[in-house]
Amino acid sequence: MDRIQIPTNSRFEFEIRHSWRTRNFFEMALRDLKGRKFAQGLVVLAMALPSIAMAYPELTRHGSVSCTTCHLSPAGGGALTIYGRSMSREILSRWGGPNEERVLHGLLGRDLDQKLDDLGLRLGGNVRGLQSHRENSRVRQGQFFLMQADLKLGVELEEWVAYLSAGEVENPRSSEPRRTLNSSEHWVMWRPSTETQQWGVRGGRFPLTFGGLQADHTLSVRKLMSLGLSSARTSLEISGAGEEQTWQLGVSMPASGSPRDEEERALAARVDRGWSKSWRAGASLWRGELRDGSRVAGSFHALGSWKEVGLKPYLQVESLHLLRRRDQLADVVSHAMLLRNGLELTRGLFGILQIQHERGDVQLHASEVNRYGLGLQVFPRPHFEIYGLWHRVHRPFASLDTWSDEAFAVFHYYL
């Protein structure tokens, strides 16, 4: 029985019965065909695909068309607007006291808070930790690592927004040195409004917007596209939001001195549109080119619906298609599909049932993986989120361990 010390700063260690990393036929095949990075991407995809468009059902149901209702960034995520912070208590959290949603739980006091608001300062930050678990007849493996720890500062002045994020992003599998206190994002945006549209022109360092129903920067999508853990690049983007639709169009390029996995030029476009009261559809395209000559192009499609009855069910269907071309290797077409069904059991508590299907290479049966998952997402109080998902995983063409269990729990605190 082998014991493997998981690298980096894992807080927990499980017993590993076999060294599945070297014996798993599926993974070996993938390595041979597409290289380690791509195989890793699939593994991470399995972990994180469920978090795609997380905000879609909850927040769209409450009338949000654009991410800028609650976030400074038109692609969502990061520092919250005053309204967004307020809604974290009013919509998402199960419990919450007066001013609890404010920065540092309201410890700054109402007067200082008000002053910060008046000055247009938006403070924030995130700490995310992930506990993973994987088990089949040959392996039982788990790991806890800090995914994210950063601070964010935004300034809103009339039609201008400036944004800075600094902190740590950790890749548990990487042998690269940890990067702390680097600025993962910094940008300036001009966003004039008309009666029917809010425009935005943004320049700086940020991830290009990609996704179906909402902008999606999840690790899964980035890794599947062979991007580095941090997908922020020097980018320029124009965006728009109206009563029914949002759209973004952007280009990015590597800055001088970029790490090797960030040496990439890309073009991305996405649009989504709602119709009737409870339907929304979106599509996104990506074309990227790395300095080693490999290219990646992808499209992402999503359709969602929700009902304001009973347990407020929602349904999402998403698909991601990707073409990778690398010198001296044949084109590889991958796809992943997700059917996600959720219920708001009570405010702040969501039950999730989902089915995933993916093929790292559509021509390779062995790359097929199907997942049947149950999950729970809890927002107990403002600033806290716990998200857990358990998957029964089926690899129909694997020679060993056609069934296994995978689970993860994300603990998230935001400032």
Partner: protein, 388 residues
Amino acid sequence: MSNTQFVVATLRRVVGERLEAQESRSSSNLVRAIAVLAMLTSMSTACQYNDLKAGSQAASRPGSSGTAPQPGGGGSGPGPGIAVVDYQLVREQIFVPHCLRCHSSEAGGVRRGGVALNTFAEAQPIAASIAEQIETDQMPLRAPALPGDLKALIRAWVDGGAVEVAPASGVRPRLGDQSNFRRSKDHQRTLARMNPIRAVIQGLILPSVSEAKSSLASMPQVYELEKASLEFLAIGRPSFLKIRGEGARPEGEFSVKDGEIQGIAHVDLRSLKTGIELRDEHLHERYAQTDKYPKAELSFQIVQERIGAIMADQSVDLQISVPGRLRWREREHELPIQVQRKKSQVEVEFKFRLSDFGIETPQYAGVKVADEVQVKVLSHVRARKLDQ
């Protein structure tokens, strides 16, 4: 009153009016009832002759010259007080709602079969053919057959000479009151030759039913809102946040009489919810002040020919824009209202400005609500007939 009773009462009323028109004004209700029974009995026993008699009788009504007009307008022309159907009326009541979708010469229109009915010059040469196709339900194609009164209307137009404009001496009939339409003996004889049974149906029963319908249309009727709901949509700027409110149940009714509908609905705004407790609190306490002004009143009036018959006939979809009036917070404003009826479901939609009702612009945490708010009332309607 059961449906049967209502139909009998309506028939009695129609026939009663006819008897009155024949100088039987002093007849008692009992005599009218006997007359109805006698008429129904005679219809079932000697329908062919009754058909013609009925037609003759119609032609010899007071106000009619009693002279059969000549087809093609070559006769002596209508006498004083005789209603003449002209192209404008036919266009308005038949061609526009039922025909022009497929037979239009306008730019962007469809001209199926090479036939267009936009102008008198286009319709007049083929008037007889149009009437025949409508009467035999060949037209409108892939759509419900036209009701009897409209069939009678186009027949009256053709029989009256398919004129473009009614002579000044003629009386433009109101639709639904087809007792004034002239029906030629030739036409009825033709009908009788074609098929006696159909002749009876077209010559007697349909007009009777049609008269009953028109009578229905002219009788006051009250429709109540049933399972009504109200929702509003406001837009929060600058991110176009959609704020939807619902939960209020409007109550109201509208009455139909002759060519007029008057409607009124009251809604208790205290039950409105927007999905966020804090927002509801702000809505009710700070902006709408529903404790002080709990109810809003929406009223409207529609004046349109045949509106009663349209309301009674649920197979006809209705979509109109009418002037309405919203009363709320001790203020009153006129606004256009869109009314759409599909079967028994009615959808009323309108927009109003918060500032018109003295409501300050709602804003919260950087989100400012646009002044214009869209309101939609969805309801089924249930007829409540008045006992007469």
